[in-house]
């Protein structure tokens, strides 16, 4: 910070101030409305309380239609830190919760709670926090938040966020400048409630610990200055400073510049230069919330302009429709050529579109100009006179902004710092060509925001699209590859029918080897029984494990071939089918896998070694059978699909029949090959044992136990006689049958 704190304080004490660039001097017109006390507005029959009246997020509505509410009862709540609750401004009944024209330049409808007042104005039991100095800061801040207080000067920034700052606050500036012509609500508030404002400042000081408190008031409000001076006399740390009258001296950034010569950095906040600013109205509301426990349910509204007969200030409950204020101030529509009402001041206020627009927390003025005051002249060409640049408090070049905004050169407008425009209206005020400059800026700003939003959206969509395109290409490639393989397989199958026979022989050889191994294994000790697992780690260390590895490789090869074939099979089958079929077959595959897993599970769960062993053997045989069956079936199917390449449906139909006949065949086969199967079972058992060992390896806690049981198991298996094996073979037969049945069922499922 280039401007030293002590220097600034010294200057302030001597009432030496800085200046901001530009500024204008519109006719003040304050005496119209600041002559009388703030009057209490009679309750209107209906109140329209918008759910969101501040910058941030709205809370959840916690009342329902038809519910009776008391004055001060919260209507919304939220845990979001940027939410500020709203409260019932008076007692009555909730008529509806729905859309209502908003107090916003657009006038777009927004969620509003409509209350029918019972004219009794009964308060909820209030809980003041007079001993706030003894309370924790968080509780005080919470109380301020729960009272629904947001900045009452203009933007409506949630107060509790501002006072919750953890940064060092050098200056707490209380803004009582009120630089807009016509408006006198803060003026009257300071004159009549200076003490309460001071109490509010006390609370803020307690929370923020500022080094210096400055209460800034424009010179054209001598009564307010005096009142505040009296109220702040006791506290030497509070300085009331009168500010030269110049619009927009009350703008946050401009006031900081005038008092401290510091500039809030672009896109920064006042706290970045050690300043926190609150409006006097906010201080009053804070004091109300802490010392009386009252939430923010009313505010001072100036009703003024040439078209009202008795201009003045009113305590208006939030949600009061402006038409009610029109009546109270005796609005004379004949003084206007066309009805016109402005919410806010003549420089920054907006035209309201409907007389049921409600008063909200930021509404400080309703201006009803007479025909003389509301002059609209036709927009003419910009003559580049530069008058606008001379008065711009942000030191922008409004004519360049206008040029680019009008030409829709939004990039260039941003180069000229469009977003630093505070929309004060000074430029348009002086423009001799009557160009509604601010309007052009607003449009350009919203267009840029829209563009940015759209860009974000478009980026996301593009990303999605690109991903999808990549996926589609990958899928297409995979499909092409599969088709190619399938075609090759078909070609091969046609040209060389002995190929599959070869495969079978290879598989048989592998099995034979495995059998041999199994026998060898039968002799081997318990340690070796888990050798395959070890062999993976220390391959080649033992001859016997080498053998096993070879056997395993051979098996794996056979399996892989079978799997490939199955895949080709599925592909060639599904090539002409609907895409959903693919997923069906996929799920069928996964079903097979699941079954395998089931078997493993059962194995795992069985505690008794003997039963375990039997089951394993049985399952292994069953699996082998099922596999073989599947393989055979697949081979047949491959032939089928070659036979009917264009008629996949009939192929599938035929498949089913084939599978049924397979069933019978499988039975025969099982009977015939009982012995072989038994041998195979042994080999499988070994493998399964290894597998289960692996499964166990995953489970650290049970590993030891199971290893022991496996040891036992293996020792027992050494003594296992032929009889048992035969029983196992019988069981295997049954299992194989069942497996085959399952398989056929699956095929049926697939088909359906």
């Amino acid at each position: 910070m280039d401007n030293n704190f002590d220097d600034i304080v010294k200057k302030l004490e001597n009432n030496e101030l800085w200046d901001f660039h530009g500024g204008v001097f519109p006719a003040e017109q304050k005496t119209l409305s600041n002559q009388n006390l703030i009057a209490q507005l009679p309750l209107s029959k209906y109140l329209y309380v918008p759910v969101k009246q501040h910058i941030g997020v709205e809370g959840q509505v916690i009342v329902s239609e038809g519910q009776a509410v008391l004055k001060g009862e919260p209507l919304t709540q939220s845990s979001n830190p940027f939410a500020v609750p709203i409260h019932a401004p008076s007692s009555g009944k909730i008529l509806s919760i729905g859309e209502h024209v908003s107090a916003h330049p657009s006038g777009l409808p927004e969620l509003t709670i409509k209350i029918e007042t019972d004219q009794q104005d009964r308060w909820l039991p209030l809980t003041p926090m007079v001993d706030y100095q003894k309370q924790s800061k968080m509780d005080v801040i919470g109380a301020i938040c729960n009272a629904g207080i947001s900045g009452m000067g203009g933007a409506g920034f949630p107060t509790h966020i501002k006072i919750g700052t953890t940064k060092q606050v050098e200056f707490l500036i209380i803004n009582g400048v009120e630089c807009e012509p016509y408006i006198t609500s803060d003026d009257r508030l300071m004159r009549e409630h200076a003490w309460q404002i001071r109490q509010g400042i006390d609370v803020l000081c307690h929370l923020l610990n500022p080094k210096c408190v400055v209460i800034a008031i424009e010179k054209n409000k001598p009564e307010a200055i005096e009142a505040m001076e009296v109220a702040c006399k006791e506290n030497s740390n509070y300085q009331v400073v009168d500010i030269p009258t110049k619009y927009p001296a009350g703008g946050e950034k401009q006031l900081i510049q005038v008092l401290t010569n510091r500039e809030v950095p672009a896109k920064g906040l006042p706290i970045d230069v050690g300043v926190i600013m609150h409006n006097v109205g906010t201080c009053f509301a804070v004091s109300d919330a802490i010392f009386s426990g009252k939430p923010l349910v009313q505010r001072v509204v100036t009703v003024t302009g040439g078209a009202v007969e008795t201009p003045g200030n009113f305590w208006a409950p939030i949600g009061t429709p402006v038409s009610h204020l029109f009546n109270e101030a005796n609005y004379n529509s004949k003084a206007q050529k066309q009805p016109q009402a402005i919410m806010g001041g003549p420089m920054m206020g907006f035209s309201i579109t409907d007389e049921s627009v409600p008063v909200v927390k930021t509404t400080n003025c309703i201006l009803l100009p007479d025909a003389k005051e509301s002059q609209t002249r036709k927009e003419q060409a910009c003559i580049r006179c530069g008058a606008c640049a001379d008065v711009c408090p942000a030191n922008l070049l409004p004519q360049q902004l206008f040029w680019h905004a009008k030409g829709k050169e939004l990039d260039k407008a941003q180069d000229y710092n469009l977003f630093d425009c505070i929309e004060c209206g000074a430029c348009a005020y002086v423009c001799p060509s009557d160009i509604p400059l601010v309007h052009y800026y607003r449009v350009a700003k919203s267009e840029i925001k829209l563009e940015q939003d759209e860009k974000v959206k478009a980026d996301k969509a593009r990303e999605r699209f690109e991903k999808r395109a990549a996926r589609l290409i990958a899928e297409q490639e995979a499909r092409d590859e599969k088709h190619r393989l399938a075609a090759e397989a078909r070609k091969q199958a046609m040209s060389d029918s002995g190929n599959t026979a070869k495969d079978k022989i290879a598989a048989a050889l592998a099995r034979a080897k495995a059998k041999k191994e199994a026998t060898a294994k039968g002799m081997s000790n318990a340690d070796e029984s888990i050798a395959p697992h070890k062999a993976n780690e220390n391959s080649g260390t033992k001859a016997s494990s080498n053998e096993r590895v070879q056997a395993a490789i051979a098996r794996a090869k056979a399996k892989k071939e079978a799997a490939q074939k199955a895949l080709q099979q599925t592909e060639s089958k599904t090539a002409n089918l609907e895409p959903t079929e693919i997923s069906d077959t996929d799920s069928a595959d996964s079903k097979v896998m699941l079954q395998d897993a089931d078997v493993a599970d059962t194995l795992d769960n069985k505690d008794k070694p003997a039963i375990d062993k039997k089951a394993k053997v049985a399952a292994a045989i069953a699996k082998a059978k099922a596999k073989k069956l599947a393989q055979q079936r697949e081979e047949k199917e491959a032939e089928n699909s070659i036979g009917y390449p264009d008629n996949a449906n009939s192929a599938v139909e035929k498949n089913t029949k084939e599978t049924q006949s397979d069933d019978i065949q499988a039975e025969n086969l099982a009977l015939k090959k009982q012995r072989v199967a038994a041998a195979v079972a042994k080999a499988k058992a070994k493998k399964l044992a290894a597998n289960s060992d692996q499964v166990i390896a995953d489970d650290v806690t049970t590993k030891q136990d199971t290893l022991q049981s496996l040891d036992k198991d293996n020792k027992e298996s050494q003594g296992l006689d032929q009889k048992k094996q035969r029983i196992a073979a019988a069981v295997a037969k049954a299992k194989a049958k069942k497996a085959a049945k399952d398989a056929s069922q699956k095929t049926e499922d697939d088909k359906s």
Binding site: M348, S351, T353, K378, A389, L397, D420, A428, S433
Partner: protein, 364 residues
């Protein structure tokens, strides 16, 4: 209720473009009246001719462009152009000179570029330069100021000369141009330039009768007329119709150049005050270079713009082929306006001082 919708601000200063232009025209009055006093009714006739021409031209063109010509006329910008052009050309120049120049200024320089606010060049000066280049003879026929002329002339003479080339008494413009010594009249700047070219010293040249006025070295008529325009210019600054930057930048530069050069060789180079009050530099500084449309819009830029014009004025006056140089200097600098504007942008509130990168874009 059907509410009227308007964008903020809802108040305006009660001064619009038309009023601004009218104030400028009003500020020209003292100078124009003095010019009429010294050079005869011809000046006023030319002004009337120019105004009629621009109004007709502008109306016709806007009608063709399907635009509302009433409000365009009411902004008085065309009329101001007409007045500025008319007082720049010799009062007794033939009528078609001013008509052609006015038409050119409005139709080509202003409307062809898109109308008010879009023209790059100052229309009055562009019109003037076009005339000067195309009709050098007619454009340099200045009559001797009152008191020096051999033949006096009245309003009728002015009309006759402008429309027929001869006065009521049958004198031609060439005859009217001679002074009571029978010497053909030239403007002070011309005179000095010619004298110096004839190897007279500057101090000798200002002994000539045309410089016999209140301030030695200043043309009689020029000095008074310049003071008249100066008065109007100061009024405009006071009324905040124009900023001081352009006039101050322009006049200071010319004078400083003149002083430096006359210190170097006072025999050949006229003094600063000579340059300041002779020729059209005062009217140029307050009324022509300040034409908002074709000038810079930032205050820093205006200073640069004014200073550059002042520099060119001095250079062209001293070494150029034409005696006076305001019109050329202004047109040269009109072309540089976008550039100057771009590089003299003020620092926006809350931004660090402007750093300009290759594209000249402000990075934060």
């Amino acid at each position: 209720m059907n509410f009227k919708l308007a964008s903020s601000p809802h108040q305006h200063v009660r001064r619009n473009t038309g009023q601004v232009m009218r104030m400028v025209i009003l500020a020209l009055l003292p100078g124009v009246l003095l010019q009429t006093w010294f050079f005869g009714w011809g000046t006023l006739v030319q002004v009337m001719l120019a105004i009629i021409t621009v109004v007709v031209t502008e109306a016709a063109i806007l009608e063709l462009r399907k635009k509302d010509f009433e409000s365009a006329i009411k902004d008085y910008s065309a009329i101001l152009t007409a007045v500025l052009l008319a007082i720049s050309i010799p009062p007794f120049a033939p009528w078609w000179i001013v008509v052609l120049g006015s038409f050119f200024a409005i139709a080509i320089v202003k409307q062809l570029y898109g109308g008010l606010g879009f023209n790059v060049f100052n229309p009055a000066m562009a019109g003037y330069v076009m005339l000067l280049i195309s009709f050098p003879v007619q454009m340099t026929q200045w009559l001797p100021p009152a008191g020096l002329a051999q033949y006096s002339h009245n309003f009728n003479d002015a009309l006759y000369v402008i429309f027929t080339g001869f006065s009521v008494d049958g004198f031609s413009i060439a005859q009217l141009k001679t002074d009571y010594d029978g010497v053909t009249m030239a403007t002070p700047l011309d005179t000095a330039k010619t004298a110096i070219a004839q190897n007279l010293t500057y101090s000798e040249s200002i002994e000539l009768p045309i410089f016999d006025s209140l301030v030695p070295g200043i043309g009689v008529a020029s000095s008074w007329i310049s003071l008249g325009y100066l008065l109007g210019g100061l009024y405009l600054i006071k009324q905040k119709v124009i900023n001081w930057h352009i006039p101050v930048g322009m006049l200071t530069t010319t004078v400083v150049c003149a002083i430096i050069m006359s210190i170097a060789d006072s025999d050949v180079y006229p003094s600063g005050i000579f340059h300041l009050l002779n020729g059209s530099i005062i009217i140029g500084a307050f009324f022509i270079a300040t034409d908002p449309v074709s000038a810079c819009t930032t205050n820093k830029g205006r200073l640069v713009f004014g200073a550059a014009i002042g520099f060119w004025v001095y250079v062209i006056r001293t070494w150029g082929g034409y005696p006076d140089a305001v019109a050329f200097a202004v047109l040269i600098m009109n072309m540089a306006v976008p550039l100057i504007d771009y590089y003299t942008r003020p620092r926006t509130y809350g931004h660090s001082p402007i750093k300009t990168n290759k594209r000249g874009i402000n990075d934060e």
